[in-house]
Symmetry: D2
Subunit: 319 residues, 4 copies
């Protein structure tokens, strides 16, 4: 993982410091290997780097993150013109208890932990450290790093790879309450090129709801359902100008070059006062998209040919 | 109204004999004036004339007729390949009581009437002819014509223009229970040319429901509602191969050259195992179609351009 | 099949004469066996018999009949107060060719047939009687009976049991184009008692659409779909006071004593300006109703108890 | 605003310290006046106080807050059994620039501001303090309080009432970008009593989506739309056990004692694997709820009586 400033390298921003879950996500991005990785302090800065050209790309958490910042990311994606998601990466939500060399579990009285991480490991902590006190810290990495700067805390809840970066010992592993939890990350750039369809794709967009229509969300979702398009994620966000006005960040199955997805996006575009296309890209889990055969590309093409035949008035085209 | 057999004239079939409501509809068809009018015995024959080239066009009742035959017409439209509706005409459902010269209302004991017409005039008849007996006859014209062939009946319920064709006297006019009732007629031909949009158009089609999907009708109607397309008529008809299988004859507001209508038709085409386009044509009532501005042609065009911009990857096209 | 006038017997009206498909349906009604069967000339008369107390019940075709009259029945059910369907019966649409004794197929030149029956046997007739002429007659029984009154026709298309009633010979059997076709009949009475649920039930009702709401049909059907209620039949009928106003005759799976059906009926009742409940009764095919477990009675009961708990304010009831 | 520990007083927790927007919301709660106000460090603590009985009630931000914590509140409401919202309060999002006595705008080089507040005042700040540096701080009150502890910063972005609590001067007022922005707060308690309907009520609940049904959100929203129930707020939250599983925090117009709302809640209860009723309470804006007359209480009552009449079999009840 080179970090030199060679101008021929592309820069990728990530929420640092080294050791965060976001860095673990960046390590999964093939095109970022051997390039310049830029550690920043928050996701707003990472996205700003991309928008202003400081970095070519950024990896940011978009769902279920314990590093925090997900709604900030969604708002940034919705409001920063030109951003596009180029890829998706999953990082397991996995925590260890780490301590300075020589400290044992039985010694732990004061425990550094980011509040979200603390909440996600509560079952293990209550069972194994019944007499501990919790010191909230601002990040998972800071929880660990702080142990080397001060001896107020005895141990820390930290990401599993933290010992690659800090001289600490692991006292316990896999202490999360939910062993299936993952955080979803996206690679965002300003490039307008869209990755080719793979059959296992996802498309993301942000759409404002019309403000004056009751049942507007229902109507908007019908734009998807009437094309057999499945929604894998929906997140409402206040637009911010008045209470009761929402935009939705939505992930759907499929690629903009799939007929049913293109048709659904046009439906959304007609319906919503403001739509921002965030990209079509391969799914991290590479799961092939399943959908009813009646939404196949050839069904769309046949219907378009049928209409064209009707409009041309030529016999024989229509049946 | 010439009826010679000059080969240069076009032939139009209609449910006769002269004096029927269907003939009154044909009299409203501008292009049929001065052409050859062919009286036939039932609507099946009229449609068959068009399909086989015996006639250029036919005028047939498509809704609410007292001449009967509406479901037969709908089934014929659904199953005869190539038929197209070119125009729509309304004829008020209006009845008179007619009798041989010299007969007065007070004389009427036996009353000829088609059963449907009889039902539609029941209020007037019960009030004004309390002691009559009803003789059911097979058509409205036959009710009147029969008075000149036999003196069993004293009077007949008949269309208002019947005295143009038979030497009878009118004893009472406008005796229908519902003064707003009209019958809707269509001009059908085999021509594939579609009348130009007027802003006051109607589009007709027949669509089979997929047989194995619960909620299929709901799904099909959503193809219309998600494009803001209003439905002015719907008629279910058994497909005929098994109980529980239906096709629907549907009229919608707008013209196939309207973007929202074209898009809805493609949606129906993709959804339904069998769709037959029956035509786009000016409404008889010339009422301009009202629809939400968000379904305007330019909204469709803008969405298509937006999608094209996204797919091309060129900057500046998308916003 | 007794037909005496003993006052202790109940009278059942049916579209006669003897030998019709309707009579075959009446023969399937257990409670009508050994009672008085009254042959009438049309379905309107049959229904009127029940409404006026002349008969206790009537058997009438409600779908896909070749005896005709289905829309008349649906209109009568919609407009005659107090009618209830008590049972459903299926009769195969099956035709024979019958002739006077001594006539063979090779002799047949003139063929009596009701136009609908003629249409339903067209494939066989075209293949086996290529040189015949068709004489339209007013009913399937009349087609046969007429052979004994006049020798104009050589043979007739008739129901299979016609030879029980007329001294005719069968020249060919099962000549219908579609061997699966059936006609559905209903037993209607003025009794307000509802047959007990069997798990294989059907519920029928008629509902007017609100006239001033676009998308009204869609909204009404959602009252069913949001309760997981499947629709097995839908028939639109003009209300008759103006073009564009419809009522719908609808059959749904399940019994009014099923929670999901009762809830759907209340939803329809609230939605529609006029709803007429036509009855819940066992299906002729005895097929058990399948529906998603989340619409089980106990789910409805649990939700009602939950709401009651919330409203009572008592702890412990709500979870 | 007494803050003694008299045991006869009720305790209300709020996100402190004194001077926060949350405190301004608490000041609007009539029943909290003259009671014990308990300042806590985060909303999780406020809610925990209520759940454990430390406090009778808590005021927490539920939408659009600049004090932060909204998603934490929504998650706490979704997962803490027994919590109920008793009232709603709006606080304008309004900021001032404050400084130590003697400092003028021209002196400001270093500016303390919570990052969210900083973002919401960016237009004013960029125009009026073009050469400033931003020091992020952890809360709006801390931004101001810190000025009295250290002279690193020259001024702070703070709530307008901050000068009631700190000896600071106001350099500028109403510097927010959006003068209409408000934060919505809720009073939560463990009381199971539901405030009486006022005609201007709101009902809140949390519902999990079934995980294995495509289109599930659409189906759930139809439970509202088919009862004419308008949704004023929807917020998706990950359930947390796996990606792609969501619960929704929803506010609807109306009161659980309104028939249409009760019916919709039962529909949601049947649909969703887990529903938590959060309360019915008067809207802060006192705006009377508008809804279509066909969802009136009496329409529901009539439909229920109609069904009861049908099931009883007694004549005369049903029409």
């Amino acid at each position: 993982m080179p970090q030199n400033d060679d101008d021929t390298l592309r820069t990728y921003s990530y929420l640092g410091p080294r050791g965060t879950f976001t860095e673990a996500a960046l390590a999964q991005v093939p095109e970022a290997q051997g390039q310049h990785w830029r550690s920043v302090n928050n996701v707003g800065e990472a996205i700003s780097d991309v928008a202003t050209g400081v970095s070519f790309g950024a990896v940011v958490a978009v769902e279920n993150s314990t590093d925090g910042g997900v709604t900030a990311v969604q708002d940034a994606l919705a409001t920063t013109p030109g951003l596009r998601i180029q890829g998706e990466y999953l990082v397991p939500v996995d925590f260890s208890v780490v301590a300075r060399r020589g400290v044992t579990l039985a010694d732990v009285r004061m425990l550094n932990a980011h509040p979200v991480a603390y909440g996600q490991c509560r079952t293990w902590i209550d069972a194994n450290l019944p007499n501990h006190s919790h010191i909230p810290v601002t990040s998972n990495v800071a929880a660990a790093a702080n142990l080397l700067e001060s001896d107020v805390a005895d141990a820390a809840v930290a990401p599993p790879n933290i010992t690659d970066h800090y001289d600490l010992e692991v006292l316990a592993e896999h202490i999360g309450d939910n062993s299936n939890a993952v955080t979803r990350f996206a690679l965002v750039t300003m490039s307008r090129s869209i990755p080719e369809p793979t059959g296992a794709d996802k498309t993301s967009f942000v759409a404002d709801l019309p403000s004056d229509q009751p049942g507007a969300l229902l109507d908007m979702l019908e734009q998807l359902s009437t094309r057999g398009v499945n929604m894998s994620m929906i997140q409402s966000r206040p637009i911010g100008d008045a209470l009761g006005r929402y935009r939705f960040v939505i992930d759907i199955d499929g690629h903009i070059r799939d007929e049913r997805v293109a048709d659904a996006l046009m439906g959304i575009r007609r319906f919503s006062p403001k739509v921002t296309f965030l990209g079509s890209y391969p799914r991290a889990d590479k799961a092939q998209i399943q959908f009813d055969a009646r939404y196949n590309d050839d069904v769309y093409i046949e219907a378009r040919d049928w209409l064209r035949g009707l409009l041309s008035g030529e016999p024989g085209l229509e049946q």
